[in-house]
């Protein structure tokens, strides 16, 4: 399965991936509308970690044996046939067990959704033909979407 891989040595820390992610997961998929005019501003499913000269993007690895799925008490997280780890917000009870279980810190609280506790996580831009928006937005090929063995 094609997955996202992050190359710390080329990450420039600009955060374009975060913006691209938020826009892609918005209703309008339009940068201005997504950020200012939609009811809920999307929380990026990818986060750029920065410290000094080091920066890298971080999001879900879509593990073979995902701890988050095992930890989910409501069955909101599941692995589909293709191997993607996906999230069904309708089943979520907002216990954040997945956030505690994920060894990569790749699951985020949906901080922009005030009425209900939810999480956001990478779905590899499930419905996007061209593949994940973050990889395309990266100016320095620090995020690559490819099939790797092992």
């Amino acid at each position: 399965m094609k997955k996202l891989y992050f190359r710390e040595e080329w990450c420039v820390g600009c955060g374009r991936c975060e913006v691209a992610c938020a826009i892609e997961h918005s209703e309008s998929k339009h940068p201005i509308i997504a950020y200012f005019h939609e009811k809920i501003r999307q929380t990026p499913r990818i986060v750029v970690e920065r410290k000094g000269n080091i920066s890298f993007a971080n999001t879900c690895r879509h593990c073979e044996e995902p701890d988050c799925v095992n930890a989910c008490i409501a069955g909101a997280l599941y692995k589909d046939e293709s191997g993607k780890v996906l999230y069904n917000p309708n089943k979520c009870v907002g216990c954040y067990s997945c956030i505690m279980a994920c060894p990569y810190g790749a699951i985020m609280k949906d901080i922009n959704r005030k009425e209900r506790k939810q999480i956001v996580k990478c779905d590899l831009c499930n419905t996007r033909k061209e593949g994940p928006a973050c990889a395309e937005a990266c100016p320095n090929r620090a995020i690559i979407f490819e099939e790797k063995e092992g």
């Binding site: 040595e9 420039v12 820390g13 600009c14 955060g15 940068p31 950020y35 920065r50 320095n140 090929r141």
Partner: protein, 508 residues
Amino acid sequence: MKFTFSLKPENFIIERDDERCIRCGACVQQCSYNAHYFLEEKNKVLGINHNCVGDGRCVAICPTNAIRIRQAENPYRPNHNWSKEKMMDLYEQAENGTVLLVGMGAPTPHPVYWDKIILNASQVTNPSIDPLREPMEVKTYIGSKPDKIEVVFDNKTKKPDIKTKISPQLELEIPVMFAAMSFGAISLNACKSLAKAASEMGTFWNTGEGGLYRDLYQYGKNTIVQVASGRFGVHLDYLNAGAAVEIKIGQGAKPGIGGHLPGEKVNHEISVTRAMPEGADAISPAPHHDIYSIEDLRQLIYSIKEATDYEKPVFIKISAVHNVAAIASGIVRAGADAVVIDGIRGGTGAAPKIIRDNVGIPIELAIAVVDERLRKEGIRNQASLIAAGGFRNSSDVIKAIALGADAVYIGTAALMTLGCHVCGMCYKGICNWGIATQREDLTKRLNPEIGAERAKNLLKAWKHEIQEMLGAMGINSIESLRGNRLNLRAVDIHEPYLSILGIKPAGA
């Protein structure tokens, strides 16, 4: 924010479309000149116009295209003699009392003769050639060619064989090479990009006076190693690692001036590559202290040839100055395999502004006079002629070849493929594009994978264009165009420059 008092007005105005700005902070994070900042209490991103150098990093990186950079108009009473730039320079010197430093080639309006020279094409009386359907050779050989070729026939087999010993030659798949830019002046990632592109396109890149970094020895057969007045990084393995050795006497941007890599740029890798102490200033003297004459130059040329077993061509690079033809003649007679001439528009990582903008002659005139002089003296075959200094596109290249050059070096154009926006701040060492810097967070912005692809694309594109132009002229080999000035005509060039260039006016 500091509020220091300065007489210097801003050069650029940062315009931010507040409706488009999503406050992501990419511009703040990316600008190494600190021209953007976040005003958190008001949730606003603001610009500091004074800090902006106009290198376009924020414009390119902003995910919502919210930023425009505009050139600031002259706030003073217009005065042709006292232009804004002249006034700014004066204020700067009044504040600091220093020689003004600059990067890149001269932006001064010296005439660009390339723009006034036009090419010929075949119509009716001779056929043009379609390079997509017929062979079109753009391969060039750099090196000394023999005066005559002696052919002997084998007594038994009657097969011919060449008796003349041919000097070492560089085989160029396209007559464009990457100019000397040292690891130090530019980042290692920039060097890697150019080295990889050159080796994949069958042309050459040049180490400059920065030595050859250990990872780059693998590109040795596409590398020209430079020996300059500071002798940084020069040792036997280095000389033998390259395909050719270039002795740098001068550089187009700063003829008669040495080099100076400030100590803060000399990190561990550079100190190892250059064989010098970490953190020490790398100072290249203005002259080579062992070359005070053509005879001295000959000694160095032959020392290098001796060290490399006469297997590598030796280039001599000089800047185009008033007596360039006579100097080039001396260089050829001293035993150089190629003469490199760098014109007044040649680039630099750092040079005194007053030198860059006022010293040297345009490369077009230099090529013409050197080619003419070497032909008249009957020694043109003894050395190749490589031109450098501000080549912008493939038509500049083909015009240079028609004027008499064998190949050209491109420096600034090559860096532009890597992201350079010619802001001229190379000497500051905090290049936003990861090119003219050694700061780790900035150098990682240039991924050599992408850089090599882009530099390669440029060479590919120019190769196609050169083939198209040759085809239109009805010539099927770049070597048939060399010195073929009948294929050039001048518009709006007047005597005596017409006769110096040796071309006819258009219509004649």
